[in-house]
Symmetry: C2
Subunit: 273 residues, 2 copies
């Protein structure tokens, strides 16, 4: 039977959830995970405590409770539950406080919060998302000088999601440009892109995976055929080598990994939002 | 002088970075943060150790090192540095191991990894991003029955970034539909959208903030005027009330917070990627 895990936070609980998921993946058991964000009232905390206790009675095992709540009164309600409660942040705060020889100032963890101090930074991040959208798939070759990265690659190799992720998570302005089948006989870079050569990053992918992805969109088409995929990839990879464009095979990588490896290879400093 | 912080991981380091940032925000000091992802080789680990030691000598203070590295040989190189090293995951693993009465199986934390077991889930998440793009800004009212959420609101109140974030982070299929100035005299919902009423979620925003955002795009226009913003918002909020559409004022919220509050209000269960 699966063990129940509760994530309880006075914020979005996004970070805690991802962290908890990574921790649980090290144990060879099934877990049923439930997230309770914005636990900011006594009423909501009491409701959750009842659910924890009910889950405990029904399953005969006490649920794992990962929590992060600044307000003492609300936290105490959760701690009075029958769950195994563990403060996710505190285990990092205590050793750091000792090392820094400094007391922490617990404030509600608005990790993803918006306030007077960071609204300009936030707006720039949203502007990066808009930039990615208006420079998606070669839509516009104008204002490429404003891009920090220009992704190139064949259709369906991961350019669009990577561009959007880089914008959303790291506030980078990313344009992307596709090489299409018609270009293959004489593959080259448009002059607007060639001018920004130090920003270029190429994506490639295994032909089998590309063909599978394209078949999802246009099943049985020439476009999706393994032969066509192989041809396009060979041409594009040759171009990467010819122009000395750094590139990455995305076959086994998620957008998070592609984005992180790209920044690492291009030496782009990461900003934290 | 700011204290230096290194995030060192054999993975993307994304989760660690966000967590570390939340922890550091509780201390009233400046920190200079550097991230080293994909520390998978002895050479790279040695290079980083040298940087940690150099930073220590230059500043006279040992850097804070948050790390998560599974391979003993590589981890030991980092631990031999002069930094104050703290394993981010381990402090959660140990108590959990005791509670579960089970030993952990340390595997390289591919928190955002792609493998045979999760590729179908990953592809569905990327398909959600594509769905959001093709149903952005009322582009298409077809296949709305496939949407899990339909965001509505005036131009520039946060619909597009919220849709993309919900797709990217939680794999939700989200369409969004704008109310435009021409609709205001007789504001209503198109029949395609009215059919999906239980999926609707309205965004609203303070007129002053909306006007500022619109002025960034079209400075001095009627569209950006405070008067026009107030008029549109009043009409749209009246419509939310008339149709009983749950809604949120986004003025002080980031996309992460809007997305999380939306799922909470609509009772959508969160999936973790």
């Amino acid at each position: 039977m699966s063990r129940t895990v509760f994530y309880i936070s006075d914020g979005t609980a996004i970070t805690m959830e991802v962290l908890g998921h990574a921790v649980l993946s090290q144990f060879d058991r099934e877990f049923e995970q439930r997230t309770w964000p914005f636990v900011e009232s006594v009423e909501r905390a009491r409701e959750i405590r009842e659910r924890i206790d009910r889950s405990c009675e029904e399953s005969g095992e006490r649920p794992i409770v990962f929590y992060s709540i600044v307000c003492d009164e609300i936290r105490d309600i959760i701690l009075a539950s029958q769950g195994f409660c563990h403060d996710v942040i505190e285990s990092l705060i205590a050793p750091l406080s000792e090392e820094l020889d400094m007391a922490p100032h617990p404030t509600v963890h608005r990790t993803h919060g918006l306030n007077r101090d960071n609204v300009a930074r936030y707006d720039a991040r949203i502007a990066a998302v808009e930039y990615a959208l208006s420079h998606d798939d070669g839509l516009s070759l104008r204002h490429l000088e404003q891009a920090q990265v220009i992704l190139v690659g064949v259709s369906r190799c991961g350019k669009t999601p990577t561009s959007l992720y880089l914008a959303m998570q790291f506030g980078l302005r990313v344009a992307n440009y596709p090489f299409i089948a018609d270009d293959m006989d004489n593959l080259t870079l448009p002059p607007e892109i060639r001018q920004q050569r130090d920003k270029l990053f190429g994506l490639t992918i295994d032909a089998e995976r590309l063909s599978a992805i394209r078949n999802e969109r246009r099943s049985g088409s020439t476009y999706a055929s393994l032969r066509q995929c192989r041809l396009e990839l060979a041409e594009v990879e040759a171009l990467y080598r010819r122009f000395g464009i750094p590139h990455l095979n995305t076959t086994n990588y998620s957008v998070e990994e592609i984005a992180t490896r790209l920044m690492d290879k291009l030496g782009i400093e990461r900003r934290i939002f």
